[in-house]
Symmetry: none
Subunit: 203 residues, 4 copies
DNA sequence: TATGAATGAGCTTTCATTCAT
DNA sequence: AATGAATGAAAGCTCATTCAT
């Protein structure tokens, strides 16, 4: 009746799963603590044993997942050197992540909510990973110089907006578009064409 | 005590201004009707003279503004022919619009909420304008062929994500970054370099 | 555009007609002052020129109509001497009154509401007319002796309950049943059979 | 602090008691959920644990009580055969029921309100019991033939109107008048005098 | 320790009444 | 004098949080 995780953590995993599903699907504000407890097949009191209140729950889940994803995002490009290849891998990571758990994706990267607003801007997050990627490429002369933070935002947006569209439509299957999204993201990043490393770039 | 707008419309403009500010800043769900009435320096009941309920208020404001912005977005590229120039103009339009009213921008383009969810998908909207732009460029051979809807989403994301970042930070001044955002958007769109119209493009 | 009555009374008749229709049809509590003003094609302020508030309006209409009906109820038996004939005439009066204006009938005799509850118990009302009728018959030896007030209530009920049923069903046409209702009312009243004036009566 | 009923049903009985008292005394519309909660010595929210909303509360109480009373009304004549005796027993049942709980009586039989209006017309109710009684007597030749439904309404009215009067006056003690009310009801029903079974009846 | 009934502040909405125009 | 926009108390209902059991 209970999954392994439950036996180990007293139900915290069930709470996470339930909360993320609901936060992603219905939005943070529209999700009630009762919703979560019921979905997690758990009593209200039990839920409050793990999290002091709704906000703390939201914040903790958000922070944990963002940290994890930041790490995995970086890992997804492990072993690759070429900026284009690295960005392509990362884009594919996002697409797969969306297809695997659209609700978590929405909660982490698409929806606006209290937990996201109050998230520590100094903590690791996917945007910073992308920014580091841009910096790296720039320093290697393989990405056009410029405002790295801004460039990272543009790349991020090129990847997230298709996901936002699919999310709103209740669809998955972003993986099938990963190549084309990656191409746009790489162009947005300002990756310089391999054959013309020190030459002209589009635009 | 009353502003010019009020004298003309009986307070509807004050409601719009208040609602948009709050919807944009705090989110739709987190904004209460009382919030809006207080911000509009108006009684609760007076609000209901203009809008039947919160949802209708949200929907009406959203629909009106989206229609207006779609039109203005298209107008912003009037007289320009080159896809790059057109996209640059549109990007600048977005940046200026953000700087002028970041809350309206957030309400219209950044936040998820009921009114956006229930918006008629057949009605004009900024994404469709961008998609038309891509189609046009593609047909002229000045934009790489591909999934136009997806490409439009990527371009949209490249423009919106910087705005989302500024919005979260409570900053304005996106106009100063318009050129660089435009460059990324144009690259994301797959605009072909003028000098190499039928040649290779990055990546 | 205005009826004669209006020209004479400044619209008070329009208010009466509107209020009675709505009080009878939707109930007193469920009828709003705005409803009444709109139905009477009159402004809110104008309405308040005639009646200080909703309660006074309700009370005044109720009191006026009850007084008028009490008079007419008595008149309906004018010229008749036999108790049975008199009660039959009165029952027919009720049935016709219901058919003519079911809403007024409901407001006056069927529905519970503040104005009815606060009505001066010493004022003339249909029940007292019936009670006088019973008294008269009793004193003449043509109606069984007993608790006259109670007997009047029973007669009243025998007449009103069919009307209540029709009212709930939204039907009219009580006139067609007047004879049979009258027969029951006369029996309930304890009218002694003409041929056996000093003899036994049913039960 | 808590009554026995509470210990058994978690407060549902306290809600019923409070709601019926207030619905009966002040009317359904004029009774607020807050009224009920306070009278039941219970919080607002607790009430909603038992009933989804005010309407459901009203409907449930009405339906349950009507069903119970219909049964008890029939039972009150158990073992009796003579129509007059049966109607007398039923009338006494009504009078005792009024004396025992005038507010419940008012809620069930005197007042107009949403729950009564939306009550399933096919479900058992006191009027149908009376109608069956009339039918039975008619078929036995001990009640005058005629429109049975109408006759039942007249009988019902003869019984209810005295209760309505007492209710408005805030009095009880209808039991003392039961015999006389019963006599009127029996006459209204058209019960034929035992000694003149096939003979003439009043009027 | 675990439960979920209970709490009540706060939400959206209605409407009798007032009063500036 | 006449209007109806404005007011705000109060309604029905929700839900984060507490706490007796």
């Amino acid at each position: 009746m209970m999954r392994a995780a439950t036996l180990q953590d007293g139900g915290k995993a069930r709470i996470s799963a339930a909360a993320i599903e609901l936060f992603g699907r219905k939005g943070y504000d529209a999700t009630t603590i009762r919703d979560i407890a019921e979905t997690a097949a758990m009593s209200l009191g039990a839920l409050y044993r793990h999290y002091a209140n709704k906000d703390e729950l939201g914040r903790a889940l958000y922070a944990e997942a963002i940290a994890l994803w930041s790490e995995r995002l970086l890992d997804s490009a492990a072993g690759l050197d070429d900026p284009a290849a690295r960005l392509r891998a990362m884009t594919k990571f996002f697409c797969r992540a969306f297809d695997r758990d659209p609700n978590l994706f929405a909660f982490l990267l698409l929806n606006q909510h209290g937990p996201a607003r109050s998230f520590d801007p100094k903590a690791a997050n996917p945007l910073k990973v992308l920014e580091a990627e841009i910096r790296r490429g720039e320093q290697d002369g393989r990405i056009l110089p410029g405002n790295r933070h801004l460039r990272a935002l543009c790349v991020m947006g090129a990847v997230l907006q298709p996901a936002a569209s699919y999310s709103r439509a209740g669809k998955t299957g972003l993986g099938a578009l990963a190549e084309e999204i990656a191409a746009a993201a790489i162009r947005a990043a300002g990756v310089i064409e391999p054959t013309r490393r020190s030459g002209a770039v589009i635009q």
